[in-house]
Symmetry: C2
């Protein structure tokens, strides 16, 4: 078990290290603990024995281990209040309610990245409970139409439809009517299936140039599935931190940020705010990721902050929490 004094010591070391990025020496803590450096050293040795602290080399000061950060996050850290400035900056975004949800989230996370110097990630997709409420087809010229699909949750997608030559307007109109009738109420992820197995047979019977026309619409509509949008902002902020002063480390991290397949894996399904410290995430041993799931109006996804392991966990959590709550209005 860990004593109260050890707990306080761990807290002080973690917070000191978060602030300064330098190993914390026993001497530096004498005043605060009103005892000699030797006493502190004894306690530090105990904490190291428990695996909560570590040294960067034999004669260095102490640094929290991953386990130490974990203990700090789980047992010591208290929820933090946002500063007035933080609230003010973010409030502006959410008070503008003509913004589409995904834009509001992106913008607010951009601001959080600025405020914290961490990298902000937003993963979004339309959730499976989006059902097609309306299909609108607008002709642009003889060969081109815009197909717009609106779901019951207010999600909008649009695609180009290229109409092959030598097809009468009537036939096009008939195809649109057929699709419109059969596709209303279908979930976005089922559109391709419904087109193939329910719409196609009807078109085959009712329309002359059925093959070409069907294909034109199928191409446009078949990819409404669960595409995930990816936003990564403020990568350079993160690199200002002193632990990222090594070219290879930077390259490695930026490679991951550039790899959208990798970033998509950051997806979080847990509704709480989760912290992944150092080796607990796949980015880098010096990095922590804090993230949470969100859902609103047929749009779901993950918001995440990527910072140094020396992250201000309390503040990061408060910021994510604020955004999450504002997403839910």
């Amino acid at each position: 078990m860990i004593t109260d004094r050890q707990k306080k010591l761990l807290k002080t070391i973690v917070e000191n290290y978060i602030k300064t990025a330098r190993p914390v020496s026993s001497k530096a803590l004498c005043k605060r603990f009103k005892c000699s450096s030797a006493t502190i050293r004894n306690e530090m040795a105990s904490l190291e024995g428990l695996g909560l602290l570590q040294k960067t080399h034999t004669s260095s000061g102490r640094v929290p281990s991953d386990k130490g950060y974990r203990y700090y996050v789980d047992n010591i850290m208290k929820p933090e209040e946002l500063s007035d400035e933080d609230v003010m900056r973010l409030g502006q975004i959410f008070s503008n309610n003509s913004l589409v949800l995904s834009d509001a989230i992106s913008k607010s996370m951009e601001i959080v990245s600025e405020l914290t110097n961490y990298t902000a990630i937003v993963l979004g997709r339309s959730s499976d409970d989006n059902r097609i409420a309306k299909v609108e087809v607008v002709p642009i010229d003889n060969n081109k139409m815009i197909a717009i699909v609106i779901t019951d949750k207010g999600h909008v997608e649009n695609r180009n439809v290229t109409i092959p030559d030598n097809i009468s307007k009537d036939e096009v109109k008939r195809v649109i009517e057929i699709i419109d009738k059969l596709i209303i109420g279908v979930s976005l992820s089922d559109v391709a299936k419904v087109l193939e197995f329910e719409v196609k047979p009807v078109i085959d019977k009712a329309v002359k140039q059925h093959e070409a026309l069907y294909n034109a619409f199928y191409n446009a509509f078949s990819d409404f599935g669960p595409k995930q949008s990816v936003m990564v902002r403020g990568t350079s902020n993160l690199l200002k931190e002193p632990e990222f002063d090594d070219v290879d480390k930077i390259r490695n991290i930026l490679n991951k940020f550039d790899d959208h397949d990798f970033i998509r894996n950051i997806k979080e399904d847990d509704d709480g705010i989760k912290v992944y410290i150092g080796s607990e995430n796949q980015i880098d041993d010096d990095i922590s990721v804090i993230k949470t799931y969100f859902y609103k109006d047929g749009e779901e996804g993950t918001i995440a902050l990527v910072g140094p392991k020396r992250m201000e966990y309390g503040r990061a959590e408060a910021l994510l929490n604020y955004i999450k709550e504002n997403i839910g209005r």
Copy 2:
């Protein structure tokens, strides 16, 4: 004036340096020029006198100066043919014609970034010749509607409209009818003005709760102006090049990439393919930018590649050219 042999020498040095990233020594060129290193040294000294070559230190081999690269790009380099692989990778994108134009451009530039290891930038906006062709308003629930605006060029934008409480459906309907009637044919950048000076007076007269309703729609519609979308992809690719092995340099460059206001300034209005070498661009002295303007169907913008000054200019130009031509179909 520059002699033929000097021209050939400059060409060899530039291309050699582009390949190896190491200063080119006189000795290394003996074989190719069938003469002694001393002869090469004399010629190198002349080229240095003309400002086309420079040394990294007194006893180093030669490296092209900015002026040297410029001479190479303007007078020596020949247009390059794309390799079959390049064409194949890019062709896939443009053969899929249900992709919205902006997606096709983004995707193809992403691929170019992969192929070249340079950073790809796409700046896009709807051009001023987009006129509103259709306004569609879809109710989602009692308080929320989605307003969709489609232009004659096929551009689609959507916004949330939050309807204040205690307003009858009839009034909402009337407002939509008024807006729809007056806004058709208006250019996107004039929407805010038209709403204020033409639509508002009509609504004021015809509708009871005019103030609140007008504001709801104005908020949604007032920002259709020239917003510029920004895409930056493959930043980490660029950093693989050996000249970016310095942490401060990397930080400086990434800072610029993260700063979307800065990136927007990369905008190019010239229809040709332009090269900005080293100090000619604002990013970094070791960087070159190659870019061009594009326009298609009411969408305009800039595509750019950011690479080391040691860029394969011919190939980069060919790639941009290919994409530009395919945008124009």
